[in-house]
Subunit: 226 residues, 2 copies
DNA sequence: TTAAAAATATGATATTTGTCATATTAAAGA
DNA sequence: TCTTTAATATGACAAATATCATATTTTTAA
């Protein structure tokens, strides 16, 4: 079993505040998991008795809306923790987590994490700051959904994917989303999303090759996103 | 100057975890403020060096969107704290706070509050739980904005206002929002909001008398909100 | 009290977005 | 490989929503 003391990913999450002793103890009680693309880590409404630390891969956090469609609330990648909100609120998770690519994930039981809150103030502050960051992001996102057009939101989302997850050697966006998933990030119908991608393609803003998307004119995309 | 030990409102916020000694010290360093309807408590981008505890009244938290319109992210009322996220993240506030009616508010400087985080674990947990609650609410809100129609959002918002802030003796909603403000909660044009209110009125779902709104058929409104 | 300004209301119309139908392409399994 | 299924694409149309114009009412302030 891999050791948390040597895990580089730890440095990017709230767990960086843990002492050497805490890390050794953590190594013993954590569970390492391999999650395949498309597999569910947890489902909305489930009781998740701990948090997940993402060592590698990307997943989507979705929420089922009243009309039966999934909405993608957030994409999460290595170095981030899942299930913090649920653990702190002592409630079932309000979002589902599904792998967008093969993932390596460690599960840390609640009992272990809650101990850090009492004993390690820096850890508490780190978690708080993360959640505060999520809240600010959610506010921004909310305003965009309420005030921007679908076209603006698509442009913005493409830029976000580029900035946050980078690109492959062929310049295509690293995160591979289906048109359906992309539509459920920007909050529109799949057909509308496809149509706008076609428009962007014709305008030379992007290049579509199968599922791959290459951003060709970032300046114009930024203008479009307002 | 009023004393925090005797303030009933305290019991409804994270501050309920404070000890008697902490409360006495708090009374000395807090500032009591009277904010008139329409006045700004703080503005997006400002550095707010502490938190505000709402003793009485209601205010709106707004965010300016790229198109120049304000979006109302949240309504906040007595017993709640303002500025926690900003203080914890050590960043300027990301939202503006404007009074919707006359308010009584206490300002507590950052230096004082930050001390509680170190010394009073229950206080930390309370704050964390509050912010986690806000985050969950924001996620829900986001999905609604992305997936529901304007009509559904209006019905839902009217029910929310009724449930959260109650009604006057004449059965009209207690929070007095302009059509413009209502539109900027549900994320639509003012005219669309007015038009739908008229429709609801004609359908007998609500009753409009000037600015006053009375919910006449809550069952049907709930069905409309899905 | 009255004039001016702001808020509310409604019609006409344009634009955006969603839905349904259907074709085409790509992916998965037998 | 072939067949089946799912994903992508596009047209035609319908519905939702925004915008602009203008009337009416309410509020504000001189």
């Amino acid at each position: 079993m891999s050791k948390c003391e040597q895990c580089i990913v730890r440095e990017f999450s709230s767990l960086k505040a843990l002492t050497k002793d805490e890390l050794i103890k953590l190594s013993d009680c954590k569970t390492s998991l391999i999650i395949k693309k498309g597999e569910v880590i947890f489902e909305e409404g489930e009781n998740v008795n701990g948090i997940y630390c993402i060592k590698d891969g990307i997943c989507k956090l979705t929420k089922l809306s009243a009309n039966g469609k999934d909405h993608i609330v957030k994409l999460v990648t290595k170095g981030e923790l899942l299930g913090q909100r649920s653990m702190i609120s002592d409630e079932p998770v309000n979002l589902s987590a599904v792998a967008l690519e093969d993932m390596q994930v460690c599960f840390i039981p609640k009992s272990e994490v809650m101990g850090y809150f009492d004993k390690n103030n820096q850890f508490s502050m780190n978690v708080m700051k993360t959640i505060c960051g999520d809240l600010k992001e959610a506010d921004d996102h909310m305003v965009n959904l309420a005030q921007k057009t679908v076209k603006e939101r698509l442009a913005e989302t493409l830029l976000y994917l580029n900035d946050t997850f980078g690109k492959n050697e062929d310049n295509s966006l690293k995160v591979q989303l289906s048109r359906d998933e992309l539509a459920s990030i920007i909050g529109t119908a799949t057909e509308s999303c496809i149509r706008l991608l076609s428009d962007f393609n014709k305008l030379g803003l992007i290049e579509l090759t199968g599922k791959k998307i290459v951003l060709k004119d970032i300046t114009k995309l930024k203008k479009l996103a307002e």
